[in-house]
Amino acid sequence: MSKTEAPAIEGWFTMDRERPHLLGTRCKSCQNVFFPKETSYCRNPACNGTDFDEIELSRTGRLWSFTNNCYAPPEPFVADDPFEPYAIAAVELEAEKMVVMGQVTAGVSVEELEAGMEMELVLETLFEDDDNEFLVWKWRPTAAAA
């Protein structure tokens, strides 16, 4: 019996396995964009906006910097046993002029990464329980998709 796919956190990304997007908000007054979502008061000091639209962020960007975890992070991270090192990317979204961090898709090591390369958003399993597979956003080099 296959497990149900569920987001590891509600409302942060679309559950589209093919072309997922991170979900942010845009202030209706000043058009500023927020990720994670800002829904109460606009954080632009020049704006008093309180109304926001939900928006999808760009699903590709340029690799700003990267690193990895050679050791398992502490809880509340749910680490596999044995732990497999994984890379982490900070990706610059051009339209939003914003850098967003995320894990790099499994199997892509830091040796395969280079600043400036195009990265795209994917969904992968973060952890599982008996019934569910909890998904999270990750970055993958666009060139690795083929």
């Binding site: 500023n32 994670p36 509340p76 991270f77 749910v78 939003e96």
Partner: protein, 396 residues
């Protein structure tokens, strides 16, 4: 200068992994600072405590905890928490009280007992509204992950190498050998640093600061009070506790993303440089006037960022500074003469205070084998997650 207060006494409890109650470390540091100042505890009018959050009910509410342990004597009290900037917030609070004429003698004290391993969010349970919990949960973004991102960025932008980062560690370890309060008073070679296990590429174990137990304290007084004790006191002419300006375009702990800069003009001075800028302006000095600096080397690579942030060199030139030995004791502008966090480890509420202790010993010529000849002006730099700047200028 109009905004000076005197540092009449300094004291520290050695950093280590002692496993005792943090209050003991704070009391020891405070007693040393009192003895150093020649001030009786009962004459202290104000206690500014820097809080630990790792030991329950924020440092058992720090200022009062230390006041009780030293013996209740009715002093006014305040407590600060600003992550790694907690200590400089406590200094700022005490200084403001003195400058406002509300008291003449204040004790500033911070101490911590830390758990083993990585810092993780304190407290359990599902905290899906707390970014500090979520960054571990969703990305596994430990503190060294952020240090690694910043370090890799230096390599991409300026051609920094792993050897450059290792050189910082080697330099600081040579300073630490001469510091009795350092947790790791051991000199490392470049090969030893580069052979230590990779933690968050490109940073290795010996390039990332540990978590430590420790305590530090200052006796701050009005200039008038200080002159009754000493003709030429060391002083604090500036304290900076700035927050970022929107949009902050650098990814910082514990955030998942930077602010969006789309359609906005970015601040003239980004957050980190603004920490130093505010301190320099307040003291009416500039980076060219500095004799030494104590900076927040969470990683050896981050120390290089600070050279540029503090204006000790131009952007992209920090690697050359460490290669040329300019930031070693005996060089043009020694940095982290204490050994830095690399030799101490983080004892969060104490470390901004400890940086001021080091500069004070240097200004008095009491720094032994790590002494910078003729040190008269120095700056500390530090910052706490969630947007807490921290810098103190110390002057002879």
């Amino acid at each position: 200068m109009a905004h000076e207060v005197a540092i009449l006494g300094v004291g520290m409890h050695p950093w280590g992994k002692w496993g005792r109650n943090f209050v003991e470390y704070g009391v020891k540091a405070a007693q040393d600072a009192l003895a150093d100042a020649g001030v009786d505890w009962r004459d202290v009018q104000f206690v500014a405590g820097a809080d630990t959050i790792r030991n329950g009910y924020p440092g058992h509410v720090a200022g009062a905890t230390f006041a009780q342990a030293l013996g209740w004597q009715g002093a006014q009290v305040a407590s600060s928490y600003g992550a790694c900037a907690s200590g400089s917030q406590a200094i700022a609070t005490a200084r403001a009280q003195i400058l406002a004429g509300l008291c003449d003698v204040a004790l500033v004290v911070g101490a911590d007992t830390t758990p083993k391993g990585f810092f993780a969010p304190s407290g359990g349970g599902d905290r899906s509204r707390d970014p500090d919990w979520l960054r571990f949960r969703l990305v596994g973004a430990t503190n060294p992950v952020y240090f690694g991102l910043w370090a890799r960025r230096r390599m991409e932008l300026f051609g920094a190498t792993e050897e450059d980062f290792a050189r910082v560690k080697v330099k600081n370890s040579r300073h630490a050998v001469h510091n009795p309060n350092a947790r790791f008073p051991k000199s490392f070679t470049l090969d030893e640093v580069l052979a230590s296990p990779m933690v968050s590429d490109p940073l290795r174990l010996l390039q990332i600061c540990a978590t430590s137990d420790g305590g530090a304290a200052l006796i701050l007084t009005s200039m008038e009070y200080a002159r009754k004790h000493t003709a030429d006191p060391v002083t604090i002419p500036a304290v900076s506790n700035v927050t970022p300006k929107y949009p902050n375009q650098l990814i910082e702990m514990p955030n998942f993303a930077t602010d969006s800069g789309a359609g906005l003009s970015v601040p003239d001075v980004p957050f980190r440089p603004s920490i130093a800028k505010y301190a320099y302006e307040q003291a009416g000095v500039g980076p060219e006037d500095m004799d030494l600096a104590e900076v927040y080397d969470l990683s050896s690579a981050l120390e290089l960022d600070w050279y540029e942030i503090l204006g000790l060199c131009k952007e992209g030139e920090a690697e050359k500074l460490v290669r040329d030995g300019d930031t070693s004791v005996g060089g043009r502008i020694p940095v982290n003469t204490s050994g830095g966090l690399g030799a101490f480890g983080e004892a969060i509420p104490a470390q901004a205070i400890a940086q001021v202790c080091e500069l004070t010993w240097q200004m008095r010529g009491e720094a032994g084998g790590r002494q910078v000849d003729g040190a008269k002006l120095g700056i500390t730099a530090n910052y706490g997650l969630f947007g807490h700047g921290s810098s103190v200028i110390v002057k002879k």
